[in-house]
């Protein structure tokens, strides 16, 4: 797996000596090793030129850009080089076949719900009583089986998430009142944190999709809209509990992130730079965390689990093996 660079400073990003160089106004320089870099996250204000973008495209490096407030703006997604017309045709066919689409979407949601359940089970065993929520979620997971349309699936998923979020006040040891997931705009610390972390997962999934032949715009669970890579949203759904939400719980419960990391004047909407950095360092470590994969018989990282998910999807799309979503097994 290649490397990921996170840039917080303001300055210029340029191509020099067939390499990517970041330089700040104060004269500091950093080499982003072009041959091994897969992803660059930009949080600062960067000046750059098409020469660099051409080079990034050549090197197949994705660049994710976040605005001044830390919200995801978009990605520089280099020209697709892993393309497969055969796969694309089949990916669309699967989408168009309602029965197949519902089957794949259902499998994705079941995995997501299972992973949510496991998060609750973890905290239930550690002195937080979320027993009743667990039962409710278990019941809803069973109900997923009987959903016949995407609409119903989404409804059930909404219910699962609602129950899940209702337990957060108990799980999070800091005194934060979190009642409801609100996105536009997030209205308290946890909502802001969730939005930020989810956007990170979304970009990581996008980078992993880029390495496969899948087309990121054709999705199954979410409606493939225009102007967004909705397949990323689909796959991110499965990994949010494992990578994002566990991290949020741990950051808050260890008091690594507190109200002080947010701009108070903005009603805890904006993260301060130091806060963003802390989250990213932790996020980066989590993606690198490895575990033993029974099927493959070797250690794989969390990041690689995402790629494996893409491969499983490909196998389903070309009718080689039915898609079996990732469920936390340890």
């Amino acid at each position: 797996m290649g490397e990921t660079f996170y840039i917080f400073q303001d300055g210029q990003l340029k191509r020099k000596d067939n390499n990517i160089v970041m330089s700040t106004l104060s004269g500091q320089k950093k080499n982003l090793k072009s041959e091994v870099t897969d992803e660059i996250y930009i949080f600062g204000e960067i000046e750059t030129n098409s020469k660099l973008l051409n080079f990034l495209s050549q090197q197949k490096t994705t660049m994710h850009i976040f605005n001044y407030y830390g919200f995801y703006s978009g990605s520089f997604y280099p020209r697709e080089s892993n393309v497969s017309g055969h796969l694309l045709v089949n990916q669309v066919k699967k989408y168009d076949n309602t029965e197949e689409r519902v089957r794949i979407a259902k499998e994705m949601l079941k995995s997501a719900a299972h992973n949510i359940y496991r998060n609750l089970r973890y905290y239930n065993g550690r002195g937080t009583d979320v027993e009743s929520a667990m039962k409710d979620i278990q019941r809803l997971i069973k109900r997923l089986d009987y959903c016949a349309s995407i609409h119903e699936l989404m409804g059930t998923e909404g219910n699962i998430r609602k129950i899940y979020y209702s337990t957060w006040n108990a799980i999070v040891k800091q005194d934060i009142r979190f009642e409801k997931r609100k996105k536009r705009p997030p209205d308290n610390l946890i909502n802001s944190l969730l939005s930020f972390v989810n956007s990170l997962i979304y970009t990581t999934v996008l980078s992993e999709i880029y390495k496969t032949q899948l087309n990121p715009t054709i999705s199954y669970l979410h409606e493939p809209g225009t102007k967004r890579f909705s397949l990323s949203l689909d796959i991110a759904e499965i990994f949010k509990p494992l990578i994002g939400e566990r991290m949020i719980f741990s950051l808050l419960n260890k008091n690594q992130i507190t109200e002080q990391d947010f701009e108070k004047e903005s009603n805890y909407l904006y993260l301060k730079e130091a806060g963003k950095k802390k989250i990213l360092i932790e996020y980066d470590q989590r993606l690198k965390r490895t575990l033993f994969h029974k099927g493959l018989g070797r250690e794989v990282s969390y990041r690689y689990l995402i790629r494996l998910e893409c491969y499983k999807l490909i196998k389903d799309i070309i009718d080689e093996k039915q898609y079996d979503g990732f469920k936390i097994w340890w």
């Binding site: 797996m1 660079f5 996170y6 840039i7 000596d17 970041m22 090793k33 091994v36 197949k60």
Partner: protein
Amino acid sequence: MMDLKFGGEHMYIILMYDIMMDKTGAKVQRNTFKICKRYLTHIQNSVFEGNLTELNLMKLKKELSEYIRKEQDSFIIFNSRDEKWLTKEFLGKEDDKTSNFF
């Protein structure tokens, strides 16, 4: 070869060199330095460090071999299975140049 950027076993590399500064020395140094920093982090005057896949290491060696003069220059590559098998100790100024956060 480009397409294999994402694959292969990883290893942790420390590379250091001595280049004889005769007539063509400066040129060799300039070129090899440019190559090394595309693959590894430059941590001290003639020392580089970083994580590479087997394939990237091969690419690096091949690129270097075009410039290295067999009789004058010496490159040493230490190779460790993983960064965690390596303890790093700083004496004097502590400066973590290998950080991916900037």
